[in-house]
Symmetry: C3
Subunit: 349 residues, 3 copies
C-alpha cells in the first residue's frame, strides 16, 4: 500500500506536451495527463467509467477528453459532459480528477482525498526555474520499490563503494553525518556532511576553476514521501564555507532527486543537478548531466539487484548497521504516515 | 470458467493441413488437430496420458498419432492402440477426443460432454463455401477475453469513434438499433440498423458501381457463445432495400466474426467479409480483406487497452449507457448458459 | 520443496574462475561461488545480510568478498569481518556459507544442515580426472523440473523414439532392462541393459575401429538426488563382454548426467561422455561432445514440452506403463527422502 495524502511528482513540465497526452501509472493507478487550452495541466483517471477503455487512446477536444471507444466526453473535472446518442447523463458518469499544481517546472499531483490537498505544502525547488541557476531535467525508470531508492539517497556510506570514481572519495566512508529531524509537520530530515580540507571528487574537479584541497559540503533535506533536495559544493579550504561564506569561485550545486511509486516494484525518478556558475556554458550543463547519469546508473545496478533478491527471498531478516541512521529515520517517518492514513481510513469507514 | 456445452470454432479448414498437425489452446485446453487418411479432422487432447508429453511433438501414422516420447500410439478416438514393449494396454490409457464437424469451411469442436454434441445445432455460414459468394478467410490472435470482443461487435455506437475513416459515419453514433431476442433455444440476438438516405461509408465507396445517397443496412445475428453473422449492404436510396428488394447494383456483404476463448485473457478470432458481386475480381477480394483488417486493428488496439486496464484494476464499477443494450443482452445470455452449466454440473456431482 | 540434506553439484571446476565469481541459483537460493587465494572454492549466500544487496555485485579481496553497496566484508566462512565506519560488528552480521568439496572436476555443495555434510558420501566420478579417460565437460540449462530429466534418464524406452537417428535403435524399444535397488543407504539404482548381437548405434559407428554386430551394454547407476553414472560400450559380438571381458577394440564410455534444481521449474544439467581410447584425438573428443549435445537437445525439446503441459494442467492423472519401472523407483526414493526430511524438520521444530 502507498501513502496517498501527500504531493507526489507526476512529471517534469516538459513531459506533458501542450498538444497530446502523457499516460503514466502512479501508485498503481493509470493516470492521464494533458494540458487544457490555457496550458494548465489536467490529470484524470486513465479509465473510462463506461467500460474501462483507456482515455489515453482518446482525443483531446478543447479542455475535454473524448473516449474514442464510445465517444463519452469528460471535462477537466472528470465530469462526463456528453454521451453520444443519449440525452441524460447519469450523475455517476465521471472519472476521477486529481488535484494538480505546476510549480518549479514540476507537475505535482495529489493522489489522496482531494479536500486535503493544500498547495502550500509543496516543497520548494526554486533552482529549477530561477534565472540564477541552470539545470537539465532528468528522468529514470527504476525496476525497484521507491523506498530502496530513498534508502540509497539517505545513506552517504555507499558513496565510496558504489561510486569510487564518480561521487565517492575514501573519506566519504569514514565521516559520520549529522542528522536533524524537523519536529514540525510530516517530518523533514536534514543530513549535513562536511569534508574539511578534503580532496575534490572527480565530478567537481572537471568543472572547478581552482585546484587543491577544499571544504566540501553536502546538506541534504529529505521530505516524505521521497523528495530530496541537496545543497552541495566545494570551496577552497579555509575560505569560510562551514561558517556560511561562499567565495565567488566556490562550486555550488543544488541537487534534486524525487521518486514516485509506479507499482510496488517499479518507480519513477526525476532528478537534476543545478549550478549557479557558468550559466551559459551549455557544454558544461551537458557534462554535469552526463556525469550524474553515470553515477546514477551505478546506483541503479545495485538497487535493482537488491530488488531482485528481495523479490526472490521476501521476509528475511536485515542486519542494521550504523550507516543506516538516515534511512531508518526516513522509513520510520514513512511508516508513521502510512499507519496514520490506515487508522484514518479505518475510523472513517 | 468457460461455457463448455456448445459448438466452438477451432480453425478454418485450411488451418488444419492434410499432412502435419495444428496445436491450439482452446478454453485453456491444449488441443491437437490433424486430418486422418480420409481427410477428416481429428481433435485430441494435446497431452499424452502417460507422462503429459505434448502429442503435437509426435508423429502422424495413418489415422493415428504416435507420441514420440515413449512411442504410445493413439487412434482418432483417443484410444491407445500400442505401447512399445508391452502387450496389455490398460483401459484407462486414452486421451480425450473431441467431437468435430467440418462445415462451411470451419472446423467446429465440442469441448463439453460428447453425448450432448448435436451437429444440427451448428449455425449456418453458407457464404463461406457457396459459389454465389466470395471471401478470404482471416484470423486474429487477441490479448483480451473473448467477451470484450463480443461487447464490441454488438455495439454500433463505437463505429463513429473507433472507425471514423473506415466503417463509421457520423450518423452511426446517432441511430438507435432495434434488438430482437429469439425466445427459442439458447438465444439469438437480431440487431437491425437501417441508415436511410445516408452517406456510403468509405469501405463501400471503394467498391461501389454507383454514387450518391444510399439506404444502408446492418442486420446482425449474434448467437452464443460468440458467433456473429451480419447481412450488410448499401443500395441506392429509394430502391426498396428496407422492404426487401435488392437491386442488382446493391452492394451485399455477409460478414463473419467468431471468437473462441484461448485462455481467460486471450482469444482466437476468425473473420471474413463475403460479397455476392464481382466474384472473380481477386484484387477486390484482397482490398476488402485489407480494409477489414485495418478496421479490426482499430478495434484490437482499443479492446486490448481495455483488457490491460481491467487486469490492472479488476472489480471496479462500470457505468452503463444506452448503447450497451446489445452487449447487455449477450452478456445476460452467456451468464445464463454458464449458470445453467454450473447447476447441471452440481446436480450430477 | 527440495531435498536439502544431500550433496548437489554446483558447477564444473572450470566454471568457478580463479579470478571473478560465479552467481548461480540452486534450490531457489542465490549462491555466490568463488575461489580463495589458495584456489579453494567458497560458496556464500548471494545476499548481503545488511540490506539484501547481491554479493555477486561485490568485489573479491583476498579470501573475502566485499559487498560493494556499503562495504561490508565477509570471509570464506560468511562471517562479517569489516563494517566501514563502525568498530563493532554485530554477531548476527554474517551470510550463510555452504560446505563445498571439489572432487573429480566437480564442485559439490551441501545446501542442508552443515553438520550433516560428510564428504565420504559423494559419489565417485573418477573418469572426469583420470589420465586413462578423456572427456569434455558440458552444461545445459533446462526449463523443466529436475525430476522430469531424471525420469528421462532412467527410461530406456524413449531412446528409439526421441533419438531414432542418434542414440536409439529399434531393439532399444523392445528390450526390458534389469533394475536392482541397493538396499543400503539412501538407495542407488542399477539398471543394466544388454543388447546382444545388435546393430551399433550411429554414435558408436562414427568412432569404432571395427564393423559388424556387437554386444552392447548400458549399465546405469543412478543415485539420489539426480546423479547418473553410466558404463556403456560396444564390443564385437561373442568376445565375452557380458561375462566381463573387454577386448582392446571395445568401445568403452563412461557417461555423466547430473541435475541440480535451480527453481521448481528450471534445472542445471552437467554432463560428459568419457572414453578410454584415442585419448589424444581432440577431434574425436569434440565429435563425441557434439553428438551428445544433438541427442540431448532432442530430449530437451520433449521434456520442456512436458513441463509446459504440466504447468498448464497441473494435477491430472498419469497412466503408468511398464517402461516406467526405473523412473518409478527413483521417484519413490526421492519421495522417501523428502518425507524423511520433512518429518525430521517437524520433530526438531
Amino acid at each position: 500500500m502507498f501513502i496517498k495524502n501527500c504531493w507526489y511528482v507526476a512529471a517534469w513540465d516538459i513531459e506533458v506536451p501542450s498538444e497530446g497526452m502523457l499516460a503514466r501509472t502512479l501508485l498503481n493507478e493509470p493516470v492521464l495527463l494533458y494540458r487544457d487550452t490555457q496550458g494548465r495541466v489536467v490529470a484524470l483517471e486513465d479509465r473510462c467509467c463506461h467500460r474501462a477503455a483507456p482515455l489515453s487512446l482518446g482525443k483531446k477536444e478543447g479542455d475535454c477528453i473524448r473516449c474514442m471507444y464510445h465517444g463519452m466526453k469528460f471535462d477537466a473535472s472528470g465530469t462526463c459532459v456528453e454521451i453520444p446518442g443519449q440525452d441524460t447523463i447519469p450523475p455517476k458518469a465521471c472519472v476521477r480528477a486529481y488535484p494538480i499544481v505546476e510549480r518549479d517546472r514540476l507537475v505535482w499531483i495529489w493522489m489522496g482525498e482531494p479536500a486535503r490537498a493544500n498547495a502550500d505544502d509543496i516543497a520548494d525547488f526554486f533552482w529549477h526555474a530561477s534565472p540564477q541557476w541552470r539545470m537539465k531535467p532528468g528522468y529514470l525508470h527504476y525496476q525497484a520499490n521507491y523506498q530502496l531508492i530513498v534508502d540509497n539517497l539517505l545513506d552517504f556510506s555507499h558513496l565510496a563503494f558504489v561510486h569510487p570514481t564518480t561521487l565517492g572519495t575514501q573519506s566519504a566512508a569514514e565521516l559520520k553525518p549529522t542528522i536533524a529531524r524537523d519536529t514540525k509537520g510530516n517530518g523533514m530530515l536534514t543530513i549535513s556532511r562536511w569534508y574539511l580540507n578534503d580532496d575534490m571528487p572527480n565530478l567537481h574537479k572537471r568543472v572547478a576553476s581552482f585546484d587543491g584541497k577544499v571544504d566540501r559540503w553536502q546538506v541534504y533535506q529529505w521530505s516524505p514521501p521521497a523528495l530530496l533536495r541537496m545543497d552541495a559544493g566545494s570551496a577552497p579550504t579555509g575560505t569560510g564555507a562551514p561558517e556560511g561564506t561562499r567565495v565567488p569561485e566556490a562550486l555550488q550545486f543544488r541537487h534534486t532527486s524525487i521518486q514516485t511509486p509506479e507499482t510496488e516494484a517499479t518507480s519513477h525518478y526525476w532528478f537534476c543537478q543545478a549550478r549557479n556558475f557558468q550559466l551559459e556554458n551549455a557544454a558544461m550543463t551537458e557534462q554535469i548531466f552526463a556525469d550524474v547519469v553515470v553515477a546514477f546508473e551505478e546506483d541503479r545496478r545495485m538497487i535493482e539487484g537488491q530488488q531482485k533478491v528481495l523479490t526472490r527471498l521476501p521476509g528475511r531478516t536485515m542486519i542494521p548497521i550504523a550507516a543506516d541512521a538516515g534511512l531508518n529515520q526516513a522509513r520510520w517517518l514513512l511508516d508513521r504516515m502510512a499507519r496514520a492514513e490506515a487508522a484514518a481510513d479505518g475510523a472513517s469507514a
